[in-house]
């Protein structure tokens, strides 16, 4: 198990080739580091003293070559170190994640996601850093130290002994300080984790915090942890830097001794000047390897602490094997037998007691009872999500605790109360369970994945088909993705106008080049197309000089400024003194953010002739007029004269832009697919004139009918299945998520189903639909254990088990239990009166 491996394991298992290469490079580097010292001596003693330029140049070139080699090699060494370190980190991260995912659910009840995340993301990083340096850094620096030390002895043994005398003191003192630093560091790691879980908790429960206005409570809780962290970090950094300061101090004592003794010897003539210079250099150069060694020592200590902490935390045995060894995965028939099952959790709390039950293949059992009675726990024990602590549960004669995860996954489908939907497409989520069963090494098994027809059938069964269709219709197709599809869609568009045009005339305004669009803005009416260049998007048009010139040419500017003035005046008149509420602004051409600006503008231009309004204000009015949608902004009517001017302008603009910038806009043509708009908009080819739900419903029905006629329905659903559901599926509603989770399990088609209040987020009709489906399609085929909260749907089950305080109190067919007038009767009809 990965958590038992010591930190050194990762060093040993790192690439030996790279480590060996490192060693070779290190030896060369050390040589290249010592050589300049000798050169220094030679330059002073020989070249300068003897005044030989050629020798000076020669020694200097040796010197520079050595320096360049040392620096270059240092860089290569760093690269290799980083590679080795990151590679080890990579292995630790993968291995640890793999291990964490196998841990039992009980582990995750006591640890928070925040903690796991910070372990995997930040805390292991120091371990990686250490592994990279583990061999090269100590070797390089020890060798360098030895080489410099030996060189110093070679120059003058006495001086060498004197100047190195401080080092043993450092070596003695540093570990003592480091031990304290480590202690503080351990505490820091723990507090940081607590902080992560606190933040994680607060964010997950943000709705409760807002709902209770408990910001203060949460801030205090968090504040306490941060304060602790503050204190411990200061202590930690003090010790950490204490080590450095100590080191620095002793390091600087060296030259003092050198000058004192070396100077005395030189004056006495027992030590030549060149040797003294070389000695000083050597001593100064000792500092770098020594410092690196010290740093390495700290990295090692930090890595050891955080690595140990992580591994200790996750040192839990998985309860079950992932896949069977030496046999095929079982195919079970669906019979379930439980004998004297009990489940006790830490603290001796018994959640299940003496559970006895058996189900024949295909039988359906409803588990009912008060909350806390153990229904879900029992279902979880059968589904291997909890490990029961006593008795036996057998599936097809095989003990559940002996089965591997793969046996369970293949034979059982579990829909939990709060199903989890992963980031990805609907399709990925639908096939999630089936995909997991496929052996990565056997690509041919992929053929067994459910095909489109089967997927669509299940989508229909669980009642999410229309939703997926809508996602499909709201998709923007990529350019030229599918010529045939767009052709068909254009046919659908044509039939939509032909067959429903008249009927929907009240709810819908089709794009027609010759008609003014009352439900589109003035700008959209002018360009009459979908902008392909950003500068021509309707919100940018008022700033687009080309477009502004065009307005002048078409003599539209003045009339539009007039319109803008009317709009601004009327809107301010009605909304002027109201608070900025979204409801009031829904039909206003002025948005909430701009309201104050326009209010001031209206104040400025009251009783001012239009020609006297300054340029900036005119532009604001023009901007307002360009976004005027007569069908929505009903404060002002569009003057018929202006309407005609705009229609003329539309043709002028089309000609002008076709000349100057033909790719700027895709014009609306009934025969062209508009790639910048959704499939639905392409079919509609117009705008709805009301958001009345009845009108929406009618439009939807018409479209589905046409898609069926063109044989496109499945194709659009297929596109809809590519819809990305967002993190945790948050672009779906609660009901959609639950339906998707049910569909996911149905697609797997397992012989055993466990549904833990699987329909709790669905409306009555959807819940009934799923219930009917279970009774007609699954009864007799798959064994079902359903934890049920609502008692009106349990009549169709073969057996009902009533649970109370961890025991099955009664079990049998619904009618039998009701006629017995026991607990079920009480649950259904309320407590017996008078008793």
């Amino acid at each position: 198990m990965i958590t038992k491996l010591p930190l050194s394991y990762w060093v040993k298992t790192s690439s030996m080739k790279l480590q060996f290469l490192l060693l070779v490079l290190i030896i060369i580097t050390v040589g290249a580091r010592v050589l300049p010292l000798e050169m220094q001596k030679k330059i002073v003693n020989q070249a300068i003293r003897l005044q030989k330029i050629d020798l000076l140049l020669l020694y200097c070139s040796f010197y520079i070559v050595a320096v360049i080699t040392a620096s270059g090699l240092k860089y290569v060494i760093t690269i290799l170190q980083t590679h080795i370190g990151q590679e080890a980190l990579n292995r630790i991260r993968k291995g640890l994640y793999e291990h964490i995912l196998t841990l039992p659910l009980s582990f995750f009840h006591k640890s928070s996601p925040g903690m796991v995340v910070s372990s995997l993301v930040t805390e292991v990083a120091t371990a990686g850093e250490f592994v990279g340096q583990a061999i090269s850094t100590p070797v390089t620096n020890l060798l360098t130290l030895l080489a410099f030390g030996a060189y110093m002895f070679y120059l003058n043994p006495l001086l060498a002994v004197l100047s190195l005398a401080t080092y043993p003191i450092v070596i003695f003192l540093v570990p003592k300080l480091q031990a304290r630093s480590n202690k503080a560091n351990k505490t820091r790691v723990d507090i940081t984790r607590r902080m992560s879980s606190k933040v994680d908790e607060a964010i997950s429960g943000i709705h409760e915090i807002h709902g209770n206005n408990s910001h203060g409570i949460e801030n205090r809780k968090y504040g306490r942890i941060v304060d602790e962290l503050f204190k411990i970090r200061i202590v930690w950094i003090l010790y950490k830097n204490g080590v450095k300061v100590l080191n620095n101090f002793f390091q600087n004592l060296g030259p003092f001794i050198l000058f004192l003794v070396g100077g005395y010897l030189a004056i006495q003539g027992r030590f030549d000047l060149g040797a003294l210079v070389a000695f000083l250099s050597a001593y100064e150069k000792l500092y770098d390897p020594w410092k690196e060694l010290m740093d390495f020592y700290q990295v090692y200590q930090d890595a050891n602490v955080s690595y140990g902490r992580i591994m200790e935390y996750f040192d839990v045995e998985p309860e079950h094997l992932l896949a069977p060894v030496g046999r095929e995965v079982y195919s079970l028939n669906g019979s379930i037998d439980a004998k004297d099952v009990s489940f006790t959790i830490a603290g001796g709390i018994q959640l299940l007691k003496q559970i006895n039950m058996n189900l024949k293949p295909g039988e359906h059992l409803a588990l009912v009872g008060f909350s806390g009675s153990g229904k879900s726990t029992l279902a979880h024990c059968i589904g291997q999500l909890h490990k029961y602590t006593g008795g036996s549960i057998q599936l097809d004669g095989k003990e559940v605790s002996e089965l591997t995860k793969k046996d369970i996954a293949k034979n059982m489908g579990i829909v939990s109360q709060k199903p989890f939907i992963f980031d990805g497409t609907i399709k990925e989520n639908l096939l999630y369970s089936c995909e997991a069963l496929i052996d990565e090494d056997k690509p041919e098994e992929r053929e067994k994945l459910p095909d489109l027809d089967e997927t669509i059938r299940v989508l229909q069964q669980v009642g999410i088909f229309v939703d997926v269709l809508r996602f499909g219709l709201n998709t923007v197709l990529e350019l030229d993705r599918d010529e045939e599809l767009t052709q068909k869609l254009i046919r659908v568009r044509e039939s939509f106008q032909k067959e429903f045009g008249r009927e929907l005339a009240d709810y819908f305004e089709f794009f027609d080049e010759r008609k003014y669009l009352y439900y589109s803005s003035v700008a959209a009416n002018l360009i009459f197309g979908s902008p392909s260049q950003k500068d021509f998007s309707t919100d940018r048009l008022p700033e687009n000089p080309y477009f502004l010139d065009f307005l002048d040419e078409a003599q539209l500017k003045m009339p539009l400024i007039h319109l803008g003035r009317d709009l601004a005046t009327m809107t301010i008149d009605v909304l002027g003194n109201l608070p900025p509420d979204e409801v009031f602004f829904r039909q206003s051409p002025i948005s909430i953010d701009e309201f104050e600006d326009y209010k001031a503008l209206v104040g400025r231009i009251e009783d001012v002739r239009i020609h006297e309004i300054d340029e900036g204000d005119r532009h604001m009015l023009l901007r307002l007029a360009l976004r005027f949608v007569p069908g929505v902004h009903k404060l002002t009517a569009l003057p018929p004269v202006l309407e005609n001017l705009i229609l003329d302008g539309r043709f002028l603009f089309k000609e002008k832009i076709a000349r100057d910038n033909p790719t700027a806009i895709t014009f609306y043509r009934i025969t062209d697919y508009i790639y910048s708009q959704t499939i639905l908009d392409n079919i509609l080819f117009g705008k709805p004139t009301t958001d009345h739900p009845k009108a929406q419903e009618r439009i939807n029905q018409s479209i589905i009918q046409l898609l069926v006629e063109e044989d496109l329905l499945e194709r659009i659903v297929e596109i809809g299945m590519e819809f990305n559901v967002g993190t945790k599926g948050d672009r779906l509603s609660g009901g959609q998520r639950q339906k998707l989770a049910i569909a996911r399990v149905f697609l797997k088609n397992p012989p055993m189903l466990i549904m833990d209040e699987a329909t709790s987020a669905l409306d009555n009709a959807s819940q009934q639909r799923i219930q009917n489906l279970l009774e007609t399609r699954w009864k007799g085929k798959s064994t079902l254990i359903a934890v049920v909260h609502r008692l009106d749907i349990i009549k169709g089950f073969d057996k009902v088990a009533v649970m109370k305080a961890g025991k099955i109190m009664e079990m049998g067919p619904y009618d039998e239990l009701i006629s017995r007038k026991g607990l079920l009767y009480e649950l259904v009809h309320g407590p017996k009166s008078g008793t």
Partner: protein, 173 residues
């Protein structure tokens, strides 16, 4: 020079709404600012013959004023559908629905092409928040309605229909 003066301007839908609202007793007596806001937040909806404006059991949060068209109000009884009355041009209904949430007892079905001015509860509530003083004339209007209604009921039913008597007394609320 230019032709965009107020004289030439066709009245906007908002102005039309304002004129209509002034005729409806439910809204009459409100300050003009509130009336303007209501006119601004109303919508116009179209119904085809056979379309339901609302159905029994719907929680329909709208008040309706008939600009044109006809609709019939029905009540379903076991096995049958009773026609209560017809609504047509200039009729207003649904005032209570924009004041509080309740289910419809009746269904209203358009029988000709119908266009209505519609006010939705949430919007009206926002207006009420801004102009709390408009509640008073509305309250008075409701009282007057109850009073007139009971007075008609007493006049037409009290003597001829003994069982109806027990349900009299609404105006004593």
């Amino acid at each position: 020079m230019n032709s965009y003066t107020d004289q030439n301007q066709a009245p906007s839908e908002y102005q039309g709404n304002l004129e209509i609202l002034m005729q409806i007793p439910f809204f009459s007596g409100m300050p003009i600012d509130a009336m303007k806001l209501i006119a601004f937040l109303c919508t116009r909806e179209t119904f085809r013959p056979g379309d339901y404006l609302f159905q029994e059991g719907d929680v329909d949060p709208h008040a309706y004023f008939f600009i044109k068209g006809k609709a019939v109000l029905t009540l379903s009884t076991p096995g049958d559908e009773m026609v209560i009355r017809e609504y047509s041009e200039n009729d207003f209904l649904g005032g209570l629905s924009i004041l509080w949430i309740s289910k419809r007892f009746f269904s209203l079905k358009a029988i000709t092409d119908t266009r209505c001015l519609v006010l939705e509860r949430d919007r009206f509530q926002k207006i009420l928040d801004q102009f709390p003083q408009i509640a008073r004339p509305i309250l008075e209007e409701i009282c007057a309605f109850i009073h007139d209604w009971e007075s008609r009921l007493i006049g037409s039913h009290a003597e001829t229909c003994p069982p109806c008597r027990s349900s009299l007394g609404l105006s004593l609320f």
